[in-house]
């Protein structure tokens, strides 16, 4: 394999929300680097700041401190429209609640990001079909999501996430609403996309079973990264390990 290429570089990332008199510091001093092709799980109890971190990585929110580089671009320098384009091209989102648009077909849902990318309707159909085939739903193109099982819905959502061929799949508790079996299928799908297509996968989860299948875990507690390294056996993971030294020095 060639030299690892950084996809996400966070330096001293912080996010503070103004809350009446006092400010609420949800994230502070977060630094890490995720290379292309990695498979990372971000873990942490609720309220730890892991969701905020995910929204920052997903360019839906902007940091109040530090810098975040995504695919070589400092996101703080981008306008709203440029951020939207970045989300569209570089990132594919997968949510816990699927967030498919009701009363439309699977195909239309999957084609939606391509519309914002300015792709022609014909080409959209073709690529949405391919994406659905990739997740194993090639036979259910015209089904509305309401008539699908949870696992199927999440697979439609994954097809929607990969349809723009993004570098990064950013998943927020993707198995949170699924039963064990469907959860395992979805996890396997992520692994396949990671291994076969080279998509970088970043999952936010508090499911230790899923975290253990990732090749790297980031553990967030109280707004700080307390662990960064390979998944640890033994549940729960109590260890507080030194953050890894994988962050490159600021240029």
């Amino acid at each position: 394999m060639s030299e690892p290429e950084p996809l996400i570089v966070a330096r001293d990332l912080g996010r503070t929300f103004p809350m009446g008199e006092e400010d609420l510091r949800v994230l502070r001093g977060v630094s890490f680097r995720i290379d292309r092709g990695e498979y990372v799980a971000i873990l942490g109890p609720s309220g730890s700041g892991k969701s905020t971190l995910m929204y920052l990585i997903g360019c839906l929110d902007t940091p109040t401190e530090g810098t975040l580089e995504l695919a070589g671009t400092d996101v703080a320098t981008l306008t709203d429209a440029e951020l939207a384009a970045l989300r569209n091209e570089v990132i594919g989102f997968v949510f816990q609640a699927f967030n498919l648009l009701p009363r439309t077909t699977a195909l239309e849902n999957v084609a939606l990001p391509l519309r914002y990318a300015g792709v022609s309707p014909r080409e959209r159909r073709k690529r949405a079909k391919e994406a659905l085939e990739r997740v194993g739903l090639g036979a259910r193109l015209d089904h509305p999501p309401e008539r699908m099982s949870g696992g199927e819905r999440q697979r439609v959502a994954i097809a929607r996430a990969i349809v723009t061929r993004p570098s990064l799949l950013l998943c927020d508790e993707p198995t949170g609403n699924l039963d064990q079996r469907a959860g395992r299928e979805i996890t396997a799908l992520f692994e396949r996309l990671n291994a076969e297509d080279g998509v970088t996968v970043v999952l936010v989860t508090h499911d230790p079973l899923i975290a253990r299948r990732a090749r790297r875990n980031l553990r967030v507690v109280d707004g700080e990264i307390l662990y960064d390294g390979p998944p640890l056996d033994g549940l729960p993971t109590p260890a507080v390990v030194e953050p890894s030294a994988s962050v490159p020095p600021a240029a």
Binding site: Y55, A85, N99, R115, Y116
Partner: protein, 401 residues
């Protein structure tokens, strides 16, 4: 843009009942605009048509001076220092070069009696030139003749309504009637004329103007009617009439000369004012319709908060979201407008067939006004909700339950 329209339509289809109810406000608004403006427009066309029928190049002289072109009703009496008399009529006949015939006219109420029947009607004293000038012609017998005027003869020409009321099936020609206490011989019957501007033109009696002056006990004419020889000469003819009458008044300009165009302009002002007033009333219902749309769009933005967050995550810009909701509210109002317009035209069509007398006209400009006001309503009532949707923070929108 096509994309926005397509997704707006599918969003509306997803909630048909709500969309239909929301549209109803605009439907009613546009229907009101179409019909009320149609009534105003119809009235204008009707009046124009009627005034054009009163006689070409007609000049209408009334006592008293008014500088502005105003209402038909002059200040009778008022600042009149010298009445118009038959002498003035003769002066115009002698000296006028740009005018054709002249007739003095005076009118008043009178009770017509035949045997034991009576009818209160309008008695119109006119000269022989009247039928030609006013385009009202005798049907049977003869109209008032010049010698009748000169000899102050007591002959009467009856309108159809008067004939019907007094004579029934009897032939009135040559019969003797009473107007007031004086006896008149019926010399003719007018053609059926119908109603015009709210006046039954068949419910009147014509007698020689000189006899009418005797009847009313005065020398003062109510008006003098004449006509310019050519359409192009109307302004010059008006000036000539004014000059001739002023010379007879030691240079005092004490009369008002109006042309048919003046009357048209006067009524045009009137009907325009009416049309605008009706339009104003109708636009109130459009405003209400617009408020309905805004209300529903605000609800819709709230309900679809999470969808907005998802779309933003998938790459929609703020302006994508803005346009999505703006187009949706425009689609609501334009569809409502089209339905309202179609209903309005259907009703106008039905009315025209059921009651041809009711002035109701749906012209292309109403369609334009109605549709463009629907678009305006859609934009205005869509702006606030669409801006609210576009301004949503994507993270908060995604977390919204």
């Amino acid at each position: 843009m096509l994309e926005y329209i397509r997704s707006a339509l599918s969003a509306l289809l997803a909630n048909k009942v709500r969309a239909a109810l929301t549209m109803l406000g605009v439907v009613i608004g546009v229907l009101a605009v179409t019909l009320l403006v149609g009534v105003g427009d119809g009235a204008r066309l009707y009046i124009e048509h009627t005034l054009e029928g009163i006689g070409a190049n007609l000049l209408f002289v009334t006592p008293g001076r008014r500088e502005t072109r105003g209402s038909m009703a002059g200040p009778r009496g008022g600042n009149v220092t010298r009445p118009m008399t038959m002498e003035d009529v003769r002066a115009l006949e002698r000296q006028g070069t740009l005018i054709r015939e002249v007739t003095g006219a005076t009118q008043g109420g009178g009770t017509i009696k035949y045997k034991d029947r009576r009818r209160d009607t309008l008695v119109f004293g006119v000269g022989a030139a009247f039928p030609d000038l006013r385009n009202m012609h005798v049907g049977v017998g003869s109209f008032v003749r010049q010698e009748d005027v000169d000899a102050r003869r007591r002959v009467a020409v009856l309108g159809r309504t008067v004939v019907r009321e007094l004579f029934g099936d009897e032939n009135p020609l040559g019969k003797s009637i009473r107007i007031g206490e004086a006896r008149y011989r019926v010399s003719g019957i007018m053609e059926e004329k119908g109603a015009s501007l709210g006046m039954d033109l068949d419910d009147m009696v014509f007698i020689p103007v000189t006899s009418a002056l005797d009847l009313f006990g005065t020398d003062a004419l109510g008006s003098i009617m004449t006509a310019a020889k050519n359409k192009d000469d109307v302004p010059a003819a008006m000036a000539e009439v004014d000059d001739i009458l002023a010379r007879r008044r030691h240079g005092e300009r004490e009369v008002t000369v109006q042309s048919q165009d003046d009357l048209l302009a006067t009524f045009g002002q009137l009907t325009n004012a009416m049309t605008w007033m009706l339009l104003a009333i109708a636009s109130i219902s459009l405003v209400v319709g617009g408020i309905g749309i805004m209300n529903i769009m605000l609800v819709s933005v709230r309900e679809r908060t999470r969808e907005i967050g998802v779309r933003r995550a998938l790459g929609a810009t703020r302006s994508d979201i803005l346009w999505q909701f703006l187009v949706e509210s425009m689609a609501l109002s334009v569809l409502g407008g089209l339905i309202g317009l179609a209903l309005g035209m259907a009703i106008a069509f039905a009315v025209r067939h059921a009651a041809p007398d009711v002035p109701l006209a749906v012209s292309p400009w109403i369609a334009m006004v109605a549709l463009s006001s629907a678009v305006v309503v859609g934009v205005i009532s869509g702006v606030v909700p669409a801006r609210r949707a576009a301004k949503l923070d994507p993270v908060e929108a995604l977390r919204y339950e």
